[in-house]
């Protein structure tokens, strides 16, 4: 049974109202890089930049599941071993000395990713490899790699489709594994990956629309590869300005990397999200903010707590999804009706046989 509480305050302090508006109590992050090989250095650098920001803003390693498909820092071709840089001229080493990679190398597979999301892991899996979220967790999911229209390539040999991803999120919703979920993807044609979502409380961002490629940012001439993708580069720049007490909200995040900087058009999807994006703080997903406010004033809770919503929901239908979501009607190509095509071909055959006579019939059969 799921209750909404509304607390009446005698003060005009809006802070208290905003204080409980988000409804989450803990933060998790699942950061995945799906490409291997040296020339995909930038995907690992992307993931590590988001990891760095998320850690800096307060989410601890125990609440981060970091999946890196290849080891760039210790690759034989890296002229600066044990480092992964995100800015050219080696300004920022995102690898650092306290990186904890949970899934490494060949362990990054579609199966493992989906098991992490849905929680169906074998009992021997260590805690660091599990997503132990509950119904009050806000989860950030970041994916990067090579993708296409409706799929994301894992490790050069398999793919995850947008339908699978949407179903995995629905499973998470039904198992009450998240409160709100922010999904960011930086691949070519990334917007196709969030087209099929249908579970509530999902917000999605992508670096490019269907039919567009996400471009890489800048090569480093000493290391010899592209260091970052454009979208994540500007995302990192944006996040470097965020500190745990920032009040920046999601609308600012949607403005990151406009077409002039990114060449591709970033997209976002908020129709499944119940709150207004303008009221969602960046730190709701990227940080782990303890909600503590010290006040010397007394608050009199004189009115009894009233149940606002009287409806009881069954386990599955915790939220009437169909009432909330307005799915976009699927664009189907128009085909002429089947009967029409059949009639047309019959007409053609009859005309042919009339003109040339029935003796040709035996040549065909």
């Amino acid at each position: 049974i799921f209750f909404f509480y509304s607390i009446h305050l005698l003060h005009t302090a809006d802070n208290a109202g905003q204080f409980f508006s988000s409804g989450h109590t803990n933060n998790w992050a699942v950061l995945v890089c799906t490409s291997r090989f040296w020339f995909n250095y930038r995907h690992v650098a992307n993931t590590l930049s988001v990891y760095r920001s998320v850690k800096r803003l307060g989410i601890p390693d125990s609440h981060i599941v970091l999946m890196l498909a290849d080891d760039m820092a210790c690759n034989h071709r890296n002229p600066k071993p044990a480092t992964v840089f995100s800015h050219k001229n080696m300004e920022l080493n995102v690898y650092g000395d306290d990186v904890e990679v949970d899934y490494r190398g060949y362990e990054v597979t579609v199966e493992n990713f989906l098991r992490v999301l849905t929680g169906r892991l074998p009992p021997s899996t260590p805690r660091s490899k599990r997503l132990l979220s509950d119904d009050r967790s806000n989860i950030l999911i970041y994916l990067t790699g090579h993708g296409g229209n409706g799929f994301l390539k894992f490790q050069d040999s398999e793919e995850i489709s947008n339908v699978e991803l949407a179903d995995a999120f629905e499973q998470m919703w039904q198992k009450r594994r998240y409160n709100e979920l922010l999904f960011i993807i930086d691949t070519c044609q990334g917007a196709s990956m969030y087209e099929r979502f249908y579970s509530p409380n999902l917000m999605a961002l992508a670096s490019s629309q269907v039919g567009e490629d996400s471009l890489s940012h800048q090569p480093d001439l000493a290391i010899g590869v592209h260091l970052m993708d454009r979208y994540t580069f500007y995302l990192l720049e944006f996040l470097e300005d965020i500190h745990p007490a920032s009040k920046t909200n999601m609308n600012d995040l949607f403005k990151v990397c406009p077409k002039s900087q990114c060449v591709s058009t970033p997209g976002h999807r908020t129709d499944l999200f119940l709150r207004d994006p303008g009221s969602v703080l960046i730190t709701d997903f990227f940080g782990s903010v303890r909600k503590v406010e010290i006040t010397m004033e007394t608050i009199n809770l004189t009115d009894p707590i009233k149940q606002v919503e009287q409806r009881k929901y069954s386990y599955v239908d915790q939220l009437p999804v169909s009432e909330i979501i307005h799915q976009k009607p699927k664009q189907k190509d128009w085909h002429p009706p089947d009967g029409f095509i059949l009639g047309l071909w019959t007409l053609i055959l009859l005309v042919f046989f009339k003109l040339y006579g029935m003796k040709h019939l035996k040549h065909i059969f």
């Binding site: 090989f37 040296w38 020339f39 210790c74 690759n75 034989h76 071709r77 890296n78 002229p79 071993p81 890489s216 090569p219 001439l221 000493a222 290391i223 010899g224 590869v225 592209h226």
Partner: protein
């Protein structure tokens, strides 16, 4: 009823085939030649592009600084080479060890079947020296090779100097994921052959992914030439040529292929003829089947290899050794990023210029059109053999008569032609001692002249065979023989073109007209003359002159003849030393085939 099972329609088709056979053959031949010439026309070619993903978008700033020091090392090498009178093995070993490489030497000796007059050697003894730069952090599973030849005299000293300079620079870097083998081979190809075949597990490195051979004989250069053709006409993966071209453009060095510069005016006649010349040079070099650089022997082992030559001509703009070092450094860093062997781009191609190429799908139809002529002729003969001759009155007995001499009269010329071929293959080497005793010639000349002698002796065969054979040849007999010969030639040329397109195409150009038009009924003297002109030996003679013309070094008839003799001796030597297949192919298969047609011409 279907097209072929309806007798009326079949008769119509067959009469069409027999009536129009000669015109169709001529049209196909013209079309084949025109298609081949059209390959060099730039709108029909594709621009080269890098196919391998791992080598694609990576780019580094090359930082090789030590060009001058490389030249000094080269001068030291030259001095020690003069003092040692050959390869200065001890000095090389010491220098490579000082640069931190693991050094190995390999002694080899080889006795040629007869003395090589071009390079003046007969019993060859030498030493190869190679140093391995181990990758600092990688397992020893893959390797790259950089080699420079040690030639007597003043050439290639700068190449060895640059090789040692690069070795020192590479040793100080930590980003190598593959071992790099620096090889200095003595006696060019013989040494290379020894290195590749006789030392276990490919020169004690891991599996070799790519190899470059460097030839540099001057302190400054004006252009760099890329040589791709290897043994038996095998070519390295096109990505290696693309890599070279990409770096030439990046660094700004003038690069050529076949020694010819690139031109942009493809729509003018001179521009087009320039492309044709470049392409024909490549075709000639590929058809000869010899390795045109020290890299040529690597290709058999699926090691992509190319040779880079530095050329110093009269241009004003000179490139120094540091820039060449940077070009090589860039190429090796890109090859370092490879994860698998080069396999994404084409293995069969022709290059009318360094930035354009023609792939096998585009050039094979030219050969296909020529092969179709042979098949049309075979069909025509089959039809003639199947329909009884209209002149017979007594149908049954004549038919029996005409079918019986079939097998023996066909088999005899076949066997005798092939025996002549075997004689052409074995006799020159076997009897060189006897020839030297009898005639005042050197061994090389003896071998070559014996070969020519056996070849000419084969021309006298038809008269002798017919004297041996009892019974006369018949109309049906020569038709059957020609059918067999035409199909044999078609299969032979087809297989040759698949392995070495240039050789197959050149042989097809001369032998297909022979096969198509020879019958016993054409005027004997004129067609005998034409047949000799179009025989493999004369094709070779004309090719020698043509090749010299293409290289803009035309020769007089005397010089051309001597060059021709040396080409024959080189061909025989290539076969015995490196396993080149051109000489056995011509001697054992093409020459007997041509002899069959000669037999048909003199059929009585």
């Amino acid at each position: 009823m279907g097209l072929l099972s309806d007798p009326n329609r079949r008769r119509a088709l067959i009469s069409l085939l027999t009536r129009l056979n000669s015109p169709i053959c001529v049209v196909c031949y013209m079309a084949g030649v025109a298609w081949f010439m059209g390959l060099a026309f730039e709108p029909f070619t594709l621009r080269t592009y890098m196919s391998e993903n791992a080598m694609g978008s990576t780019m580094v700033e090359e930082r090789f600084p030590a060009g001058e020091r490389a030249l000094t090392t080269g001068r030291e090498f030259s001095a020690h080479k003069k003092k040692a009178g050959g390869m200065p093995v001890d000095w090389l070993v010491k220098t490579m060890q000082a640069r931190g490489l693991e050094v190995f030497t390999q002694r080899f000796s080889r006795k040629l079947p007869f003395p090589d007059e071009n390079k003046e050697r007969y019993m060859v003894k030498g030493t190869n020296v190679y140093g391995i730069l181990r990758a600092p952090r990688a397992p020893r599973t893959e390797a790259l090779v950089l080699s420079a030849p040690c030639t007597p005299g003043d050439s290639n000293n700068q190449a060895v100097g640059l090789l040692l300079g690069l070795a020192q620079y590479f040793r100080n870097q930590i980003y190598w994921a593959k071992d790099i083998i620096f090889l200095v081979n003595e006696h060019d190809l013989i040494g290379m052959q020894a290195c590749i075949t006789f030392s276990p597990d490919s020169c004690r490195g891991g599996s070799i992914q790519a190899a470059l051979s460097l030839e540099l004989s001057s302190d400054v250069i004006t252009s760099m030439d890329l040589v791709l053709e290897g043994l038996n006409g095998q070519l390295p993966n096109l990505d290696l040529a693309n890599l070279f071209y990409a770096f030439c453009q990046k660094i700004g060095v003038l690069c050529t292929i076949q020694g010819k510069l690139q031109r942009n005016d493809w729509d003018s006649v001179s521009g087009y003829s320039h492309s044709v010349q470049t392409m024909m040079l490549m075709v000639m070099k590929q058809a000869s089947g010899r390795p045109w650089g020290d890299h040529g022997l690597f290709l058999r082992y699926h090691i992509e290899a190319a040779s880079i030559k530095g050329i110093n001509s009269f241009r004003q703009y000179k490139t120094d050794v540091t820039t060449i070092g940077r070009l090589l450094e860039g190429m090796y860093r890109k090859l370092n990023n490879l994860l698998e062997r080069l396999h994404q781009s084409y293995f069969f191609y022709l290059m009318p210029s360094l930035s354009h190429f023609v792939s096998i799908g585009y050039y094979m139809p030219a050969f296909g059109l020529l092969a179709v002529i042979l098949l049309l002729r075979a069909l025509d003969l089959w039809v003639q053999l199947a329909t009884p001759p209209p002149r017979t009155e007594d149908g049954i007995t004549d038919k029996e008569q005409v079918s019986s001499p079939g097998v023996l009269s066909v088999l005899t010329p076949l066997v005798i032609s092939h025996l002549t071929g075997v004689a052409l293959y074995t006799l020159p080497i076997q009897f060189q001692e006897m020839a030297v005793e009898q005639f005042p010639v050197s061994e090389t000349e003896a071998v070559v002249l014996t070969a020519i002698g056996v070849y000419t002796a084969g021309l006298a065969l038809p008269h002798n065979t017919h004297r041996l054979l009892s019974g006369e040849g018949t109309e049906q007999g020569w038709r059957v023989l020609k059918l067999v010969a035409v199909l044999y030639l078609a299969v032979l040329l087809g297989c040759t073109a698949l392995i070495n397109f240039s050789l197959g195409f050149i042989l097809a150009l001369t032998l297909v007209p022979v096969a198509a038009f020879v019958t016993p009924h054409v005027p004997k003297v004129l067609s005998a003359f034409i047949l000799v002109i179009l025989s493999p030996a004369c094709t070779l003679l004309f090719s020698v002159f043509f090749f010299q013309e293409l290289q803009e070094l035309p020769v007089s008839f005397q010089e051309g003849w001597l060059l021709y003799l040396s080409v024959i001796s080189q061909g025989i030597l290539d076969h015995f030393l490196y396993g080149s297949l051109v000489y056995p192919l011509i001697a054992l298969l093409v020459y007997p085939c041509w002899l069959l047609f000669w037999n048909i011409l003199f059929w009585k």
